[in-house]
Symmetry: C2
Subunit: 125 residues, 2 copies
Amino acid sequence: MHRILLHTIVIDFPPDVHDAALGFWSAALDANAVQGTRFPEYHHLSDAVSLGRVLVQRLGEGTSRVHLDIESDDCAAEVARLTALGATTVERHGEWTVLEDPSGLRFCVVPAEAEDFAERSRVVG
Amino acid sequence: MHRILLHTIVIDFPPDVHDAALGFWSAALDANAVQGTRFPEYHHLSDAVSLGRVLVQRLGEGTSRVHLDIESDDCAAEVARLTALGATTVERHGEWTVLEDPSGLRFCVVPAEAEDFAERSRVVG
C-alpha cells in the first residue's frame, strides 16, 4: 500500500521556442519563473494561478507538449501498479520513471515532494 | 479586470485508443469515469487523486495529448489578454475558445464553473 497524487503539470518546449513560451506562460498564469538549481532545464512557475504545480521544461529536441507527473511515496510500487494496469516503462532515472500509457502518451512517476502530499494524496494498490 | 484559474487537465485520445486509455487513467487515478451528458465525448474522472480536475476527451482524429483549460469569469477579456501576450486564436465555440501559445501548443479558455473558482482564482489584466 502506497500513496499517490497527480500534482504537477509539466509544459515541455524544444530549445528554439522555450524562452518565448516560458515568458508567455509566466505572464498567462501570473507567475514568477524560478529556474531549478539541481535541474536548470526546469523552471517552476511560482505562485501560478493554478490548482496544481506548473513546471516548464526545456527539451533537447522534440515538439511542444504537456505531460503529467504522478507523485508517490513509493515510486517502485507505483510503477509496478501502473505497469500492471497497462503502462510501459520507457526510461528510469533513479527514482524518477518515464512511462507510456496504453495509447503511447508519456507521463512520469516521481518522488513525493509536495508540502501538502500527506493531506492531498490517497492510498492505492 | 477579470479572474482566471488553471483548473482542468484534459487528456485527449483518438477513437482507436480512447476506451483503453480511459480505463487506464480511471484506474491509475483511482477515479470514476462519468460521461458528459451535454458533451458525451468527455468523461470526468470523478474523485481523481489529483490537485486539479481531470477530463478525458474522445477526439475525432489525431494523436494522444494533454491540453490545459484556463477558466475565466470573462472569457472574451481573457482571450484578449492572452492574445496580447502572444497567443493565437484557433477556433471559437461560443464562450469556449481554442488558442495556441507562441510555440503552437494548444490550450483552451472556458467559462468558470469550478465550485471553488471564487476562492482559488485570481484577478489578472
